[in-house]
Symmetry: C2
Subunit: 156 residues, 2 copies
Amino acid sequence: MIEGISFQDQIPNNHCFGCGTKNPDGLQIKSYWRSEDEAVCTFTPLAHHCAGPTHYMNGGIISTLIDCHSVCTAIAKGYQMAGRRIGEGETIWYVTGKLEVSYIRPVPIDQDVELIARIETAKEKKITLSCELSSEGDVCAQSQIIAVRVPVSWFG
Amino acid sequence: MIEGISFQDQIPNNHCFGCGTKNPDGLQIKSYWRSEDEAVCTFTPLAHHCAGPTHYMNGGIISTLIDCHSVCTAIAKGYQMAGRRIGEGETIWYVTGKLEVSYIRPVPIDQDVELIARIETAKEKKITLSCELSSEGDVCAQSQIIAVRVPVSWFG
């Protein structure tokens, strides 16, 4: 368990299905730095997050976890680069430009999954990340994400 | 509206979050051939499928729709190549090996989305597809999917 307040509990006005604290019907993931450029997330799948067979996780839920954990890590990095705490001052927001996921092995639904997102390159307008999802120590999915900064007006 | 029975209503024992008829808490997408190698799907987003702002769709739900529509199209193609109706005889099943999604523009949550999956290459063990997701006639996401055949024992 990582100490401190999750990224999501500091990001304001987030209704996102995957990561919004304001979405009671969403996945409500929680992400934390474990170093300056690496963030972790642990998620407990629910029964209805299954694939065709009920004992494996759905690939779409897997990609949602990867996407949201990575984009929240990009947002946290954006604040870190600006020298501000998450949520402090003008809102910083990134969205996914591109997501690539390789599914390596099935993910058991009855175990927690662990995600590690790593910042690969970071500029104000674009952050690239890699992200791995593991179950019981085995890497089950590997991914690359391009996160793109969008203006606050995106919230229209 | 395309006539006939959807792929999902013919695929047996499918509990998948995105496409399973046996998952009452899932997205329950419906896919149909519109030609020998092209399949379509229309989906009505729910309010909690939103992104950070409530008026756009979450990228993870978008990737789930693309993934499930494409894999169901691969399964349908598998039966087509075997000269059987979907669900007839020994179960044919494909899973996602790789998913690449480019998010081109935000997807309004208050409109239906349309997906078109196209078979690019088809062999028994591996089918590659492209898939586009559109809203009000504008392409919002483009993707490439590699679907891999798995044995029935995968359902173990």
